[in-house]
């Protein structure tokens, strides 16, 4: 276990890259699957530390889970090839820019600034009060200032907006949990088709795994590539397989 605190990580990509590098792995689908659990462990702490960014972290978590599950349980037919490829590409690109950023920092610290003259040179004859040639009046100033005040609105609300996004993702998970619990005898196929988009499908899967882990539901699959059925743990106790490991 690495003794690292989360304040150090500037975002999910940063953490992911560090986890892979600490394992001395290359960026690949297999290595992404391998660091999935560690990533989730950190995610649990991130929620406490910086709620504003939870959404960003969750999206990556969902992708990692999908990648891991895909490798462990090919029979699920989850899809996810695209996500795996995308995440690898994103990570490689991120790494390249991270390294470039370190070099920029080095240049910055050298302090070899190319200075411009601070004050303008103005001819004596032009040193006089010079309003814009086409004029300016108080109503223009008022309108302009009002517009500026209005532009500030979304900036002030920014932290709250991200928070809202995060909460809605968490709510979605909660909602799905309840849905799964209430509909014992569901199949994964059913859940999958209910999802409106890929993200929602990933989130469904995330919720499902969470429930399995907490032993609130069980999943059953009679054979490789066959339908997976989901049921409440209190109704069926046979043939439990957790998808967690």
């Amino acid at each position: 276990m690495y003794n690292i605190t989360l304040e150090k990580w500037q975002g999910p990509m940063d953490l992911l890259l560090q986890l892979i590098e600490q394992e001395e792995l290359d960026i690949s689908e297999v290595s992404l699957a391998q660091v999935c659990d560690q990533y989730l462990k950190y995610l649990a702490q991130v929620e406490e530390l910086n709620p504003a960014e939870v959404a960003d972290w969750l999206v990556v978590a969902a992708k990692l889970l999908l990648i891991k599950s895909r490798l462990l349980l090919p029979g699920l037919a989850l899809g996810g090839e695209e996500e795996a490829k995308e995440l690898q590409e994103q990570l490689k690109l991120f790494k390249a820019y991270l390294e470039a950023g370190q070099k920029i920092d080095k240049l910055w610290r050298q302090g070899q600034i190319e200075y411009i003259r601070e004050k303008s040179i103005i001819l004596e004859e032009l040193k006089r009060f010079s309003p814009p040639p086409s004029g300016l009046d108080i109503s223009i100033l008022e309108q302009t200032f009002r517009k500026i005040l209005a532009i500030l609105e979304p900036i002030i609300k920014l932290p709250q907006i991200t928070l809202q996004k995060a909460i809605s993702l968490k709510e979605k998970i909660e909602h799905l949990r309840n849905f799964i619990k209430d509909h014992a005898g569901l199949t994964w196929q059913h859940l999958k088709t209910k999802a409106r988009d890929k993200t929602e499908m990933i989130v469904s899967f995330l919720a499902l795994l969470e429930l399995v882990k907490q032993k609130e539901v069980s999943v059953e699959q009679n054979g490789l590539f066959e339908e997976i059925s989901i049921s409440r743990s209190d109704s069926i106790h046979q043939n439990i397989r957790t998808l967690d490991h």
Binding site: L123, P131, P132
Partner: protein
């Protein structure tokens, strides 16, 4: 006298950054050389500008030196300043001016926090035009406000006569965004 090129470059840099006459004494201090070397260096800098056909000249007078534009270029400079510095206000300039008018006196970081962009060159321009000036203040950070000339130009006696002045400067958004500068 043998003067090394490094000294000439240093003199050039100081004169450029100053934008106004600099005394020999100051040049001696900054370049850490003898007074004679500064004089010789300036002479060589002057002749370099003359021989390369530059539009700039080094003027030496009364133990002071200045880097300036050649007299025959005065018209070009005038034209440039009129267009670039004294022409119509750009959108960002107008926006900064309206903030200084309503919310001034305020510091550059406060203005930038409200505008969300760097305002160094904008403030420089508004000052050249005589629309904005800095306020004498005891704190280290200068505060910007509109000039009396501009207030009169708007037909006002006091900047507080701007439309909806009280209402707009008490806008909650302003306070909240400025609270972030101080934090």
């Amino acid at each position: 006298m043998e003067v090394n090129n490094k000294l000439i470059a240093k003199l050039e840099v100081i004169l450029f950054a100053a934008g106004k006459p600099v005394g020999f004494k100051r040049l001696v201090e900054l370049c850490e050389v003898k007074s004679g070397e500064v004089e010789e260096g300036l002479k060589q800098l002057k002749s370099r500008y003359e021989t390369t056909g530059s539009g700039l000249v080094v003027l030496i007078h009364d133990r002071e030196a200045v880097l300036a534009t050649a007299p025959e270029q005065a018209n070009l400079v005038r034209q440039f300043l009129k267009k670039e510095e004294l022409g119509e206000l750009t959108r960002p300039q107008l926006e900064a001016l309206s903030v200084v008018a309503y919310r001034g006196p305020l510091t550059k970081p406060e203005l930038e926090q409200i505008r969300g962009v760097n305002c160094a060159l904008i403030l420089r321009n508004l000052q050249i035009r005589g629309l904005v000036e800095t306020e004498e203040s005891s704190s280290t950070m200068p505060k910007y406000k509109v000039t009396m000339d501009f207030i009169r130009y708007l037909g006002l006696k006091d900047i507080k006569e701007l439309p909806k002045y009280e209402e707009l400067i008490q806008h909650a958004n302003l306070e909240r965004i400025l609270a972030e500068t101080s934090s």
